[in-house]
Amino acid sequence: MKVTSIVDGIIIDHVRAGTALKVLHYLRVDPAKTRLALIMNTDSRKYGSKDIIKIEQTGDLDLTALGFIAPEATVDVVRQGRIVSKHQPDRPSHLVNVITCVNPRCVTTVETGVDQRFHLDDAGVYRCDYCDEKAED
């Protein structure tokens, strides 16, 4: 399978197989309005299979959510058709309004105007600041 290379943008590689659309959702990338390529369930030496996301002209794209939804991914920065840097997503100690608490008993389900806040606990798990429920993707 051949996909045209991008000139300026990013390649999010080693995305867990089958989750590329979910990653786009968390990154708030609208596939209908963005020039991008998705490769899903392709071979991976590291993981067996993987997804790859290529996004042209990323602008002010915020990659913070990658630390939660795809921490194992690799981000390649492409400039003028060449990969100029590679890095793993950061796992920030706090996430604000990136993910939503799934606990129906959490106060965030009823209180208006409250940010969805999560913190990274000692075990490397994101938990809701309010109810301590484990974050789910």
Partner: protein
């Protein structure tokens, strides 16, 4: 012989004041401060007359969005016994919340009326929202199945009053160990002190969650064992903490009734226990402790109610920054 340490006396000189802060959980309060609160509660118990005007002119607001008898009365009595006054509501239907007011707006309003707030709310994390909105200290009086810090203080005060220490103890926790927030909080806090052997007694369906077991495992000095047999272990225990199986946790009535009746502590079972074992229960009980046990000197659960009021007196005065007359002087002499 193992060394038995009362940490309160050892660390009291390094206590940082709690004045002005809110208490949503005990997890972010240094152990020195927790132990100091227990010292204050013990002091209050023996100096009722001296502390009776500690909070003169202060107003406590109790915002109880769900039913509670014991906890609300305990908070309110605590403030009245310190010389302060009480306002508030019990039951959300009585308040503006029934008109759709947010917790934040309620707290911003009540902050103008009261010097300190105690809030109980069915939603987990409600007390944190309240503390962020309020301009006065907020005490979490229970936020759903999440946290109930003053119950843990109550439990600690009772164990220390009965056993003289909070470590080098074998503590049995019996009943609903899956949903019992008081059990989880007590274990977590005791793990910070170390040197406790936990005996976790429950039916298979109500075993202790993995994250609580992990907390014990990560504590170098604490151990645990799980069992379904109360009779087999009761003779090993310094403390037996009984819990209620909560009906609202079950979809199936038959499961509830079967598990509710799994462990009933009665005089017959107590025969195998040590003569100085303390029986605790956060109350209310259903049938897990037979009424005949109430007259046994090992029954500590009504003493626990009394300690609940004392620790709330200690906490309310400490958060307000109102010094207990004579307390500091006595502490310095003891040190």
């Amino acid at each position: 012989m193992s060394q038995q340490v009362d940490h309160a006396s050892k660390t009291s000189s390094t206590v940082v004041p709690l004045r002005g802060r809110s208490v949503v959980t005990l997890d972010d309060i240094p152990m020195t401060q927790i132990l100091d609160l227990l010292d204050r509660a013990a002091y209050i118990d023996t100096h009722r007359r001296q502390v009776a005007h500690t909070c003169d002119g202060r107003v406590l607001a109790t915002l109880f969005y769900e039913p509670s008898t014991r906890t609300r009365l305990s908070f309110e009595t605590a403030m009245l016994r310190l010389g302060g006054q009480v306002i508030g509501f019990a039951g959300a239907q009585l308040a503006s919340v029934s008109k759709g007011e947010s917790i934040s707006d309620t707290l911003k309003t009540v902050s103008n009326y009261a010097d300190i707030v105690a809030i109980r709310h069915p939603k987990e994390g409600a007390a944190l929202v309240a503390s962020q909105a309020a301009t006065v200290p907020v005490i979490n009086a229970g936020d759903g199945g999440h946290m109930h810090p003053t119950q843990t203080l109550t439990d600690l005060a009772t164990i220390r009053a009965r056993k003289g220490r909070l470590n080098h103890l074998t503590i049995g926790l019996c009943g609903d160990l899956t949903f019992g927030r008081t059990v989880h909080s007590l274990i977590t806090t005791l793990c910070r002190l170390g040197h406790v052997d936990f005996v976790l007694i429950s039916p298979d369906e109500l075993r202790t969650p993995e994250y609580v077991l992990e907390r014990i495992r990560s504590s170098a000095d604490c151990t645990y064992r799980e069992t379904g047999d109360l009779n087999g272990v009761i003779g090993d225990l310094d403390v037996l903490y009984m819990t209620r199986v909560q009906q609202e946790r079950f979809f199936n009535e038959d499961d509830y009734l079967r598990l509710r009746d799994t462990y009933i502590l009665n005089a017959d079972k107590l025969r195998a226990a040590r003569s100085d074992m303390a029986v605790l229960h956060p109350l209310p009980r259903v049938n897990e402790i037979a009424v005949e046990v109430d007259d046994d000197p090992r029954a500590a659960y009504f003493q626990q109610v009394r300690n609940g009021m004392l620790v709330r007196m200690a906490l309310e005065s400490a958060l307000l920054g109102d010094e207990l007359p004579g307390y500091r002087e006595q502490k310095e002499v003891a040190a």
